[in-house]
């Protein structure tokens, strides 16, 4: 008589780290802000966070000594562009709210925002006929 033992089977995906959770929600909150057209990892891929094999481009979360995380977002602005310092504050507001809702408000550090480029609809601003 042999006892059948269950095989190893597929390994369940590990839960995301708090760092990855924070990076993902910050990126999503930034992209949902009116005036933000996209997020970019930058020329050297500096602004990117890994999450279980996926790369979250445009956001870098860095652990601090106090167990919180610094966030850096590298954003592309849509045209017509709003005043960028107000836009940055609007993005921060959304990130803070989203982090609070997700129970990550206590690990949210300063949010650095850089605007890397302007994206405009094709045809706008071209030479006249």
């Amino acid at each position: 008589m042999s006892t059948a033992r269950p095989g190893p089977g597929p390994t369940p995906l590990a839960a995301p780290s708090r760092r990855a959770q924070l990076a993902r929600l910050a990126r999503e909150a930034a992209l949902a802000t009116v005036g933000v057209a996209g997020a970019s990892a930058g020329p050297q891929g500096r602004f990117a966070t890994g999450d279980r094999g996926e790369v979250l481009a445009g956001v870098l979360a860095t652990a601090r000594r106090d167990a919180a995380f610094d966030l850096e977002l590298n954003l592309i602005v849509s045209w017509p562009a709003p005043p960028l310092h107000s836009l940055a504050e609007a993005v921060r507001e959304r990130v803070v709210t989203a982090a609070g809702r997700a129970g990550l408000g206590d690990v949210l550090g300063p949010i650095g925002i850089s605007f890397a480029d302007v994206l405009e609809p094709a045809g706008l601003g071209g030479p006249g006929p």
Binding site: A88, S114, D117
Partner: protein, 153 residues
């Protein structure tokens, strides 16, 4: 032909222009905000093109080279003919423009200067210390640029 009003004495004095590639930094309690030179360049280029009488930006070589790089997908016509120097709080802009024949060059140059200052200051919060406008060529209606002729084949 050039209409260059402001001097570059401020740049020489170091008030404007850090070669860092990132200007317009602003610190707040919740984090810092930085605006790249590419953003300032693009805003200035779009603002210049919004002015009636401006046909194109860039010198002859820049336009020819720009047309080539755009066809292979690595160029952006909105940044050709625009050069910026961005400091922490200030920016200086140099533009090379092609104006439509019959327009008043001083008036168009002044309108370009005014719109560039308004847009750059409004969007980035930087103080624009100078906008130098160099009129490089005139456009006559019906003139076809070589790049256009090639792309229609």
């Amino acid at each position: 032909m050039a209409d260059q009003r402001a001097s570059s004495a401020q740049r020489a004095a170091g008030q404007v222009g850090s070669p860092s590639g990132e200007g317009g930094a602003l610190e707040s309690s919740r984090g810092s905000t930085a605006i790249s030179d590419a953003v300032v360049t693009k805003v200035a280029g779009i603002a210049a093109r919004e002015v009636g009488g401006v046909h194109n930006l860039g010198g002859g070589v820049a336009r020819a080279f720009g047309g080539m790089t755009q066809r292979v997908g690595i160029g952006d016509e909105r940044t050709q003919g625009v050069s910026v120097e961005v400091g922490e709080r200030e920016a200086a802009v140099d533009l090379t423009v092609v104006i439509e024949y019959g327009e008043s060059i001083p008036q168009v140059a002044e309108a370009v200067r005014s719109n560039v200052i308004s847009r750059v200051e409004g969007i980035t919060g930087l103080s624009v210390t100078e906008v130098n406008v160099a009129v490089n060529d005139l456009y006559f209606p019906g003139d076809e640029e070589p790049a256009d002729a090639v792309t229609t084949v």
